[in-house]
Symmetry: C2
Subunit: 369 residues, 2 copies
């Protein structure tokens, strides 16, 4: 590990008018100067969401009725993610910022969990309080643009913020999984266009992560090897779905892609999460992730609506077979058409993909970055 | 079982120009009179779709590139589901029909499977041929309207068609699961507005069905009772999520509903599928399903976009704990807003529902039918 990776990022901590936390991450040589949040915000709703266990699938569902009134496509001059130097107009009371992270005002999950959730759901038809954490990550103070438009050092600062939040939230009681992601585009239902991502601290292991860990455990039992390492080795050997491979990371379209656009980025050595990466690897990851998003934005005349996600695992007995990877997916199946998740996908979980993974990989390889 | 239920429905069988099957189901006293399909259709594409096993989730994915060119929102005078008395304009060459079922021309699954699919996916990165069946079920010859607008005897005929297709397709080699469903509305991505549903004969047990059977087996092992029977008993006792209960069926919003609109209809006695229902029960099911759809269409000023689905199981060792039920879901979360499946749902499978199931049930109980 290099000296640089040992450096602990220390964001500037601030508090919003209703008590929510706000963190500023600065580019080298810069220093944010927040002002007091003077908005007359109502006290935070202490009514938490509910967790309800679905016994037919064995999965938790979050019921968050309070979110129905969340901010919905405000005009650009009322964007709550643009800097608010007066302390009266924005979630980010400051003349400017580089990267800012704050607790979501319309959170599906908030508060801390005192007792662990019962594995099989506990008593039937009894909801549990929906504790956890929902954060908003503002990529830049500029209202337009996207992650792919950020200069690389700025993109690297976002990765650093993800890393900081992963460390911080993972240590909190009641948070089982930290999920850093970005929803981008009207077609994904995004209600604020200012470039931003989100972080969820779930009070349970999500169904997808639980499934991958079950599969990885079965793979270890059957073959004595790590599932993700084997996938990476085979995809690299096959080559036809690989988009780009660097010394430290590999970007590819998975063999059984569910979505018309789907790209995975695996580290070439086994790591569980962002915290396991050294400084050079974090630089490399940022560069490849950035390149992949730039290629994706060149697929069609309009920028691609997408969901970008980091899969992170902990170095515990239960999660040791998990391997860090990034995943970017889109519902756009052509320049003019979207894939809808209809009954086959939404009810039965049976995905039908109209796009061949090899064809997508070939197209993406051919695009400029 | 009554004499009436013993009656085997015998549809009129027809063949389209490219060899696809077409079946007509008639109302009592009516008899369809199909004509020759004289369209110069190209031979059916013998290139099947592919099944690819996703080792990270243990689930099959269908790759069906040929569907990219399927019929997309044709003008009303070129609707392929309206009757085509000339034999030149429609998938249904007949002056009129009551209910018609035909093989989808743009099928994600077609042909028959010679060998069973390997349970753990077989050799890595090797696709399997995507055999199975995709059918279109035209509810009525009228271009406008919906299932909820059908007179009850006509709705009952659609249920009879589902039942016939379930029996027929279940018996075919290589089909593991028969799924009758309806996608309705632009918001679900429906490309033809003529009232119709679909039937998929999957070559594998779908992920959702496999999950419910795992849960039901674990429930039996832990409690010695059937999971679905216990759910029905508890929901009936709680009452607050029940919409309507008849002598034979119960409609309710599930405790852990994933969708802003979600209604389940359970039979009051345990049955596996439509074939287990007697004639009176089929009448009752039709009436309650029809009533539920009519209530749903009164939720908002515009008819509800929805996905309606029948969960059916077989009376085999592996599926014996499964119980027939219908499920209707919608992504509409208010008169003007839709729920989008963004990263939490699409990547992690962690559902967040903004609507309280009890509030939805109360609203639906209060609506006229």
């Amino acid at each position: 590990m290099t000296a640089r990776s040992m450096r602990q990022t220390t964001p500037t901590r601030w508090v919003l008018a209703d008590g929510r936390e706000l963190l500023f991450f600065d580019l080298p040589g810069r220093r944010c100067a927040p002002v007091r949040d003077r908005r007359p915000l109502p006290p935070r709703d202490t009514a938490q969401s509910e967790l309800r266990f679905d016994r037919t699938t064995g999965e938790w569902v979050i019921i968050a009725a309070l979110r129905q009134d969340r901010t919905y496509k405000p005009p650009a001059d009322q964007c709550p993610l643009c800097p608010g130097p007066s302390g009266l107009t924005s979630e980010i009371p400051a003349p400017d910022y580089d990267v800012a992270v704050f607790e979501n005002r319309f959170a599906s999950l908030s508060g801390s969990g005192d007792t662990p959730l019962p594995e099989s759901g506990g008593p039937p038809l009894v909801p549990r309080p929906g504790h956890g954490r929902c954060e908003v990550v503002c990529f830049s103070s500029a209202h337009t643009g996207s992650f792919a438009d950020l200069p690389l050092p700025h993109a690297r600062l976002v990765v650093e913020a993800w890393r900081h939040r992963t460390r911080d939230l993972s240590a909190r009681p009641g948070i089982e999984q930290v999920f850093c992601f970005e929803n981008r585009g009207d077609e994904i239902g995004v209600t604020l266009t200012h470039p931003h991502g989100q972080i969820y601290g779930y009070p349970y292991l999500t169904p997808h992560t639980a499934a991958t860990l079950r599969q990885a455990a079965a793979h270890r039992a059957a073959h004595g090897t790590n599932l993700f390492a084997d996938i990476l080795e085979r995809e690299t050997a096959a080559g036809k779905r690989v988009i780009e491979r660097t010394e430290t990371f590999t970007a590819f379209v998975p063999f059984a892609a569910r979505w018309p656009v789907e790209v995975h980025i695996y580290p070439n050595r086994p790591v569980h999460n962002l915290l396991d990466l050294d400084a050079a690897e974090l630089d490399d990851f940022t560069a490849l992730y950035h390149t992949v998003l730039r290629r994706l934005d060149r697929l069609y005349p309009e920028p691609l609506p997408y969901m970008a996600a980091l899969h992170q695992y902990r170095d515990t007995d239960a999660q040791r077979e998990g391997r860090f990877h990034a995943q970017v997916i889109s519902t756009r199946r052509s320049a003019t058409k979207l894939k809808y998740l209809a009954s086959s996908e939404s009810v039965m979980g049976a995905f039908i993909n109209d796009v061949t993974p090899e064809a997508l990989a070939a197209t993406l390889r051919g695009l400029a970055t």
